[in-house]
Amino acid sequence: MEALCREIAAARNMAADRAAEGRAAGNPSPAGKTGENRTEERDRKVSSVFLGGGTPSLLTPRQIDRVFDALYQSFSLTPDAEITMEANPGTLDEERLRAMKEAGVNRLSLGLQSTEDTLLRILGRIHTWRDFRESWDLVRKHGFDNVNIDLMFALPEQTREIWQNTLRTAAAMSPEHLSCYSLILEEGTPFAAQELRLPDEETEYEMYEDTSEILSAYGYRQYEISNYAREGRACRHNIGYWIRREYLGLGLGASSLWENERFSNTRDLKQYLEWDWEHDRYADTLREERIPLSREEAMAEFMILGLRMTEGVSCRAFLEEFGRTPESLYAEILEKYRKLGLLVCSKDRIALTRPGIHVSNRIMAEFL
């Protein structure tokens, strides 16, 4: 906890020093961003906070208090800042929810995954459907009115009917936001080593189609490959990732995009705790896998990440950022996939079509 609070202070140093430099020099920051005003604005104000990874809802009310205290001391937030905290059903209680509320948390993300206890067991989750219901009631009772529920499909033993039921059950509870992920077995995980009866590719395809169809009937609009929201409730923090806004990841293993460089913190707890903060103003010794991005890489990222969203890439934003239009840079790729009916290009937008989303990796890889 102490180390985290110190890292928050180091992050403040980075942001504050850059802002000061920018003001003194009167020109864009070292990263070469255009739009000085925007940069300064961004340096001063934080527009979203996301407390996730692991199970942050296990924090005691006192710990929650401390983290947010440190945060508010170091950064000023925009008045409408979105402050999300992840929570696992079964770890929530009244005291914690109260502490979250008091700390300023205004959005919750609950990892339900499935409404079927058998599937939850296969996934190794500690909660049951009943646990979730109880957590849900508490969340609403404490006035959280912007809540996401995570669901998973293409699970072992899961049929299309089961998935459709799960969707309807979850949507009927009327959360403001739903994230629906298909299960991807990562090589080397114990899950991948097991022999599991996974739905075939065709079923997975249908399940994905079911998702947007059913959720749209319940008033949710798909705004990203795996994300669905009620009007005005799209997650602003996550959209930040997809339009390549800068972010600072704090804590063990957390990732950042800062001054056109991607890096992540050490995953070594001992190293993290023994960090020599007094002689390391920007927490540089915690950073690993520093990857400075070339202009080409930054542009490719802009396209790849932007295409994840249903509204796609904004050509104007691209032009402002890089001084060129995507059409001039990627004419051949855009034409090829437009012809195949997988991309649509309108005045200001380049977006995947519905068939395009299904094979999005193939298209995205082209921009690299």
């Binding site: 992920y181 996550n238 997809w242 950042s256 991607r262 299904h358 990796n361």
Partner: protein, 602 residues
């Protein structure tokens, strides 16, 4: 000057795997030129590839000193020969440099098709053949049976043949004594004008071409002005020497009967053609040695760099390989599907595979190879005859009067229990049965006329698998025969892929086309759209398969911590794509172009 009566020039001939290289190593070891520590496992096969395949590709030579039981010292020049049918030509040129040959026969396997072919070749060169029975340490060895077989089938006296194990070194002395006693000494005239036979050459970046030769008459030393009698190239000798084990050892002079090398700052291997005669230009010999027939490649295929930018590297590599391998042919060609590459000619499929592997290993090239083809003779209606090595160049059918294909005389040695299976195979491959001879009760020699294009694909593999490894094959080109041939085209997504076209007999076209489509369906990964794969003769589609469209390829989650990892994933995908060939809109993996090679599913 070395006394010719103390020189023995000989080679070892054997069927593949009968232990030729191992025996060569033992002989070198026993003659004591090398300590055991210096011995590599197999000295003569100094190319890595040869070691792995257990075959000798390049003929090489080695000079050793043997102190016989009589107390006399003898100089042995051991000239290595390749053991595979593809390299008959190289065997022949090695034999011409020798006065005798050791015939190694496996005590368990007995005589094989290749044994016979090699013995006949040695006898053609008037060599004295000394049989040796090898592998007597094997539990299944039957030396007496093999001795009888040698006497009955070849007609060589073999009762006194050394019975050895090259592997354990048992009775190797007997072989050395037999060399002294039974192989004749050379009988050249050292005072006559220089006459030397070039039997090989290698290129060295410091010394230029190093010419391997057998001195028939006369003497050659540093400063001798020489002329190559066939090419007319003249120069002056810089260095002469003999072959140590794996190295060149300079000496003062080489005289009649000796085997050695010369260097003369020769830059171009083409000036020193193998089989040519070297003479003294100030005192030339009257006539050249008969030399060798120039061999012509029998099998052709296209070779393309996987990365088009390495076309120049491939050209340089082929040029270098050709220096040591006169039988390799290449010329530039272009393919719509594969870009710039070369049409290469080989002695046979093994030769092709070896060149391909050497290009990949020694020159670090990633290659795409098209289906091999033989040379067809296309008789056009206007009377013109063309030699067709690339199916793509087949003229329009309306311009073709008829076509001919090369036919070989094949001899297949097989144990009687597999005669039926092998006859079936030959039948399937359009073989014409010529006859059968029993070697002994349990083994027979089958004789067939077979179209060469039926045996270049996978005939060896099929032969081995249908005889559980017991059949062996030897063949030679017998001529051309008129045949109903058609060009089979492969269309991927309705576009003809030139590199996949091949020529087949009309009767097997349907079957081949169907198998080809099935194979390609497995080789071509699913893409964003459905891909029809069709086989066609002219405009007639004879087979079709479909590669279904890819349905799903999505990353579900991509938040702040995932981005770097997901990018790597996409990059990997893109890398894989780079290794494929773009034909129209379709990406075809490199190995698909070779799939025609493996269509036999039995």
């Amino acid at each position: 000057m070395t006394d010719q009566s103390k020189i023995r020039n000989f080679c070892i001939i054997a069927h593949i795997d009968h232990g030729k290289s191992t025996l060569a190593d033992r002989i070198i070891e026993k003659t004591g030129l090398l300590t055991e520590r210096e011995m590599q496992a197999q000295i003569l096969d100094n190319m890595e590839l040869e070691r792995e395949r257990g075959i000798t590709i390049k003929s090489q030579a080695c000079r050793i000193v043997y102190k016989a039981k009589s107390g006399e010292e003898y100089i042995f020049n051991l000239i290595d020969t390749p053991g595979h049918v593809d390299f008959n030509y190289e065997v022949s040129r090695s034999l011409a440099a020798c006065d005798g040959a050791i015939l190694v026969v496996d005590a368990a396997q007995g005589i094989e098709a290749q044994t016979l072919a090699n013995v006949y070749m040695a006898l053609d060169h008037d060599l004295d053949v000394v049989p040796v029975i090898n592998k007597i340490d094997l539990p299944s060895a039957q030396p007496q049976r093999v001795i009888n077989e040698i006497e009955d089938v070849i007609g060589l006296e073999a009762q006194d043949a050394p019975q050895i194990s090259a592997k354990t070194g048992q009775n190797i002395e007997d072989v050395l004594e037999a060399v002294v006693a039974r192989i004749p000494a050379p009988k050249g005239d050292p005072d006559a004008p220089l006459k030397a036979l070039i039997f090989d050459s290698v290129y060295d970046s410091y010394k230029g071409v190093i010419v391997f030769m057998r001195i028939m008459d006369g003497v050659v030393k540093k400063g001798t002005p020489i002329r190559m009698m066939a090419t007319g190239f003249t120069t002056e000798v810089v260095e002469v020497g003999y072959f140590g084990a794996g190295q060149f050892i300079p000496c003062d002079e080489l005289s009649a009967g000796m085997v050695g090398y010369l260097t003369a700052s020769i830059k171009n291997v083409r000036d020193t053609r193998v089989g040519d005669t070297v003479t003294d230009s100030s005192r030339p010999c009257r006539e050249a040695l008969p030399g060798y027939k120039k061999v012509n490649p029998m099998v052709y295929c296209g070779m393309y760099p996987a990365d088009g930018a390495r076309y120049g590297d491939l050209r340089d590599a082929l040029e270098k390989l050709q220096l040591n391998d006169a039988s390799l042919f290449y010329e530039p060609e272009t393919s719509v599907a594969l870009g710039f590459g070369f049409r290469c000619g080989f002695l046979g499929l093994l030769h092709l595979e070896i060149i391909q592997e050497r290009l990949e290993r020694e020159y670090n090239l990633d290659l795409v190879t098209t289906a091999p083809s033989v040379i067809y003779k296309v008789h056009k209606t206007n009377g013109e005859v063309i030699d067709l090595t690339n199916p793509t160049n087949l003229p329009d059918p309306s311009e073709i009067d008829y076509m001919e294909e090369p036919i070989v005389d094949a001899e297949i040695m097989v144990t009687t229990e597999f005669i039926g299976a092998i006859m079936d195979l030959c039948q399937e491959r359009r073989g014409q049965y010529l006859g059968m001879e029993y070697m002994e009760e349990t083994r027979a020699l089958l004789k067939y006329k077979l179209p060469l294009n039926e045996i270049i694909y996978d005939f060896f593999d099929a032969l081995k698998s249908r005889s559980r490894g017991y059949a062996s094959l030897d063949y030679e080109l017998s001529g051309y025969q008129r045949s109903e041939l058609v060009k089979l085209d492969i269309l991927v997504n309705k576009e003809e892929v030139d590199a996949l076209s091949f020529i087949v007999h009309g009767d097997t076209a349907y079957e081949r086309g169907r198998k080809m489509c099935e194979k390609l369906k497995d080789e071509i990964p699913r893409q964003l759209f459905e891909i029809p794969i069709q086989a066609a003769i002219g405009s007639k589609i004879i087979a079709r398969e479909t590669v279904k469209a890819l349905r799903k390829d999505v990353l579900a989650k991509c938040y702040g911590g995932d981005i770097t990892r997901k990018k790597k994933l996409l990059e990997k995908q893109k890398e894989g794509k780079k290794r494929m060939r773009q034909v129209g809109n379709v990406e075809i993996p490199q190995k698909a172009f070779m799939s025609v090679l493996k269509l036999d599913d039995k």
